[in-house]
Every structure is written in structure tokens, then in C-alpha cells.
């Protein structure tokens, strides 16, 4: 019996049947359920609920605030775990600076508090409690030294306490927190009014899209013309995800995954278009890049098919730039070692291979000073996503 696979994105629906994949632009006036029913109602009628599999990134994911003791351990480990659990929005606070730190205005889905190896105590004090009183959050989880758990539990309502993510050898222990965040993400998807209704189409668990992509990564090089080390760039309407092979970084984290994930929340081409344009205008290469593409900066203000293409090209460039050596603030990837760049998501439906190649050529020439490029693979028919979805049918692990 064939399966029906559906991905609900912030901009498109993807619908995959045995032989073909179709894609529908979202109608933002309708809610997801109605929109999907309107566009694909007849398709659903052909499948049983147990043969329908849905994943979604439409809700934008969870917003996270991490409060940690140091950059090299607490914050780095928690951030790594959060990204790999499919979380998109992450802000961090170094505990020693908590008194000067700004309080986020929006509601935070989950606050993560971490610091200290087991055996030490008194890491956290009233400063944390004072700060947390000002923060609006839905969940809070503690993954620091076990000795502070009682103190924090007695002062913080509904604090979830999990095993320390920092081991006695200062290595990362990711399992419990990853499982917790993944489940929270699932619960969040299910809890969203929009998504809730989707269970009328399926009797299977609805997963988050990054979770599905992550599942397929170790299988990619055996299924496509993709060679390690590679990156997968998923440029979406709201955020841009980049999944990268771990040998592109040197960061002393000993984790179970061969691939890590990073998200740029402000480089989407629709919902976060303004921040994308802003980032572009502040980049030293962009005017040269626009000239290279034979357009002027006015294109950034336009609403046209051509403008969309240019924006997408810009977002590819900016993502690569942000992980390159020129931008030490983010994770730095050794892009000179890169063998393949895989592009997936809506972008493959808009840009031609030549347009993608042009931008990557520009990047390698200008930023990397290299003339030979990694191979570029455009995942036109969402094969990576399909692979992850199909792979997911047999194995249903509790976490990523």
C-alpha cells in the first residue's frame, strides 16, 4: 500500500505520493487545515489515515532561552543539543552577566538553565530567581549540577529537572535534554490549533521537519551524488536551516551525531524578508554581488518574480558567509574542505541550477579565493525529505 507524505511549511505545502510530488503555495487567509483540505482534499480521500504521514515546520518551532555558566561548556553544549533537537530560536545568557542582561519581551517556550558538573553546589542563586521573575515562559528545564536542583526546584514553580548535560569529564551528555526538547517540540506542534486539526488526516505522529531531515542525513551520501563532508541548506520562508558534517568544525564536542544543525532565524525570504534585506545591505560583498547578478539594489525593494530570485540568491550567499571564517561569531565551518552543497526546500522550485551555481561560484571566488567549487546538488523533488519520512516509518526513536 502506498503512502502519502505531507510537509507543511511556513510558505508551501509539499505533498508526496508514490510517483509524484506536488507543491502548493500557502494561502495565509485560511488556517492550515482548511487550506490543505481545499487544495488536497481529493488526494486525502484516496488514502487511509494510517498511510498518511505529516511533518510540519509551519509553527516556526520553539523559542528558547539558555542561561548557562560558561561559553565553552554550559552554553555551547546546550545550544548544540537544542539545535539538534530541531529548535530554531535560541538566545543565550552568560550567568555572570545576568544582572546586565536584557529580558526578552516575547513569551519564551522553554528556558534551559545549565551550569557546573555534579558535585559542586551554589552555582545559582537569587540572581537567577530575580531574573526569571521578569521572564515570561511556558516551560523551564534544569540540566546543571545535581546539587543545585533542590534549591532551584523549591524556588521555581514547575521546574523540570533532568540529568546534567556536562559529565564529570567535561564532555556532553545529550540524551535526556534532547529527548525532552524533542518531545516538547512534538507537544507544541500538536498543541497548535492549526496543526491539531491535521490529526483528522492522519493517525500517525506529526513530526517537525528538521527532525525528518536530520534522520535522512546519514543516508544521503549512499542515495544521492553527495560526498562527505557536505552541508544541507534548507532556505525556508521564515528561517534557514543548515545541517553540516561534523568534520567541518573543530569544536571538542564528543556527541553521537555525525551531523550538526544550525539555524539562521532571520534569513528567510518571506516572513523574515526585511531582516534578510537588512543583513544583505550591511554585507561588504553584496553590492559587488548585485552587480555580478546584473541588478541594482532597488531590486531588494521590489515585489516581483525576479526580486524573489535575487533574494534567494542573497540568502544562499549570506548563509555561507555567516558560517565562513569571515564571520567568527557563528560556528565556523571549514568550507574549503566541503565536497557537496545540497540545497533543499522551496528554493529549488524557484532557482535554476545555473542561478545557484552563479552565486556559489561568486562566494568561492570572493570569500574563499578558490576557483573550484563543491558539487551542487539541488533536491528538486524533496528526495531528502522523502527519504527521512520513509525512513521514519520503520524506526520511531524517542528522540533525534
Amino acid at each position: 500500500m502506498s503512502k502519502l507524505l505531507i510537509d507543511v511549511g511556513s510558505t508551501y505545502f509539499k505533498v508526496c505520493e508514490e510517483t509524484n510530488i506536488t507543491q502548493h503555495f500557502r494561502d495565509f487567509k485560511k488556517d492550515i487545515y482548511e487550506d490543505l483540505l481545499h487544495k488536497c482534499g481529493d488526494v486525502f480521500s484516496r488514502y487511509k489515515k494510517e498511510d498518511v504521514f505529516i511533518c510540519s515546520s509551519a509553527n516556526g518551532g520553539l523559542s528558547t532561552l539558555i542561561i548557562g555558566l560558561t561559553n565553552s561548556f554550559s552554553l555551547k553544549f546546550a545550544k548544540n543539543i537544542a539545535f539538534n533537537s530541531g529548535i530554531n530560536i535560541i538566545d543565550t545568557i552568560l550567568y555572570s552577566k545576568i544582572e546586565e542582561s536584557k529580558v526578552p519581551l516575547e513569551l519564551i517556550d522553554v528556558v534551559i538553565v545549565v551550569g557546573g558538573i555534579d558535585g559542586i553546589s551554589g552555582v545559582f542563586d537569587e540572581k537567577l530567581l530575580t531574573y526569571l521573575q521578569k521572564v515570561q515562559y511556558s516551560n523551564i528545564v534544569y540540566v546543571g549540577t545535581v546539587q543545585d536542583a533542590n534549591y532551584l526546584s523549591s524556588h521555581i514553580k514547575s521546574l523540570k529537572v533532568l540529568g546534567n548535560i556536562i559529565t564529570g569529564k567535561l564532555h556532553v551528555n545529550e540524551l535526556e535534554l534532547k529527548e525532552y526538547l524533542t518531545n516538547l517540540y512534538q507537544a507544541d506542534i500538536v498543541g497548535k490549533e492549526d496543526i491539531k486539526h491535521l490529526y483528522e488526516f492522519t493517525s500517525n505522529q506529526i513530526y517537525s521537519t528538521p527532525y525528518i531531515v536530520n534522520r535522512s542525513l546519514p543516508l544521503i551520501d549512499a542515495n544521492f551524488e553527495v560526498v562527505n563532508p557536505f552541508i544541507v541548506v534548507d532556505i525556508g520562508g521564515a528561517t534557514t536551516d543548515i545541517h553540516y558534517s561534523r568534520d567541518l568544525v573543530r569544536d571538542n564536542i564528543l556527541s553521537d551525531s555525525e551531523y550538526d544543525r544550525l539555524v539562521f532565524k532571520k534569513l528567510g525570504v518571506y516572513k523574515s524578508k526585511e531582516t534578510l534585506v537588512f543583513a544583505a545591505k550591511n554585507n561588504e560583498f553584496v553590492y559587488e554581488l548585485l552587480a555580478y547578478l546584473n541588478v541594482t539594489e532597488n531590486i531588494l525593494e521590489e515585489e516581483s518574480e525576479k526580486a524573489l530570485r535575487v533574494l534567494m540568491q542573497l540568502s544562499i550567499f549570506l548563509v555561507l558567509y555567516k558560517v565562513s571564517r569571515l564571520n567568527p561569531l557563528y560556528v565556523t565551518l571549514h568550507l574549503e574542505l566541503l565536497k557537496s552543497i545540497v540545497l533543499t526546500g522551496g528554493i529549488t522550485k524557484v532557482l535554476s541550477y545555473a542561478e545557484v551555481e552563479a552565486i556559489i561560484t561568486f562566494f568561492y571566488k570572493k570569500v574563499m579565493n578558490l576557483h573550484s567549487l563543491p558539487t551542487i546538488v539541488l533536491d528538486y523533488d524533496y528526495a531528502i525529505w522523502t527519504l527521512g519520512m520513509k525512513n521514519n516509518e520503520h524506526k520511531e526513536p524517542k528522540c533525534l
Partner: protein
């Protein structure tokens, strides 16, 4: 049990010394957090904070620590680390240099104990004595 964070500035060739320091410290009853070779100053300091260590013992084998540890005072004040004993040992200068020049220089960077070309066990004896006198 006193806690020590240790590791090496510089690269892979110095693994043997690093591991011997680790074993020696354990044999002397310290709890050891070994960050290994090629460790950055920030990683050292952060490890001290995460483990609430009593001692930071940095080894530098080929004078690589010069210039590298000038930010130490700054980082030390970022966190409240005045009770932590900072120790550096190994071969602290490139080429020939007088011990009478090297020791004050490293002390001015913020180290409490400085061992230049001192044998491992002798250095650790001094460290133990220093720790017992602190009490």
C-alpha cells in the same frame, strides 16, 4: 579532595607530558580535569568555573604561552576567581632565557606559581606545599 584543571597550550607532540601530569596529580590525591592538548585560555578558565576547581595548572612546552596568557588577568576578573591557584610550568621561553627574568614576567600575567624547566615531581611537591600553607 582538591580539584585541578590541567591541559597544554600548543599541539599534539606534548601528549606524554600532559598524561603524566594527569596520572601524577591523581596519584597525589587530586581530582583531575584534563583538557588535553591545544586548549585555549578561555576553555581553561571556563573549565575552572564549571568544576569549581582549586587549581589551574597549564603546561607549555615550547614557549608557546608567551603572549597567549596576557588576557589571563582580564579573564580572571570576569569570573570571581581570586581563590584559585594559577600555575604554569614547562619550557616557558623560546631559546635561552634566564629564570630570573621569566618567573617575574609570568607572575605579572597573574600566575601564582611558575615552573620553568622544573622536573615534574619537584614541581608538584612545591605545589602541594603551597596548597597546604594556604589553609
Amino acid at each position: 579532595m582538591k580539584k585541578v584543571v590541567t591541559g597544554v597550550v600548543g599541539n599534539d607532540i606534548h601528549v606524554v607530558a600532559n598524561r603524566l601530569i594527569d596520572i601524577s596529580l591523581q596519584a597525589r590525591g587530586f581530582e583531575v580535569f584534563n583538557l588535553g592538548v591545544n586548549t585555549s585560555l578561555e576553555e581553561f578558565i571556563d573549565a575552572v568555573v564549571e568544576t569549581d576547581a582549586d587549581i589551574l595548572l597549564i603546561s607549555s612546552l615550547n614557549g608557546e604561552a608567551e603572549g597567549w596568557c596576557r588576557d589571563l588577568q582580564f579573564l580572571r576578573s570576569e569570573y570571581d576567581l581570586k581563590d584559585v591557584v594559577f600555575v604554569i610550568g614547562g619550557n616557558l621561553a623560546v631559546g635561552e632565557a634566564k629564570e630570573s627574568d621569566i618567573i617575574p614576567k609570568y607572575k605579572s600575567y597573574g600566575f601564582d606559581l611558575v615552573f620553568h624547566q622544573v622536573d615534574l615531581n619537584t614541581g608538584l611537591d612545591v605545589l602541594e606545599k603551597y596548597m597546604s600553607e594556604l589553609k
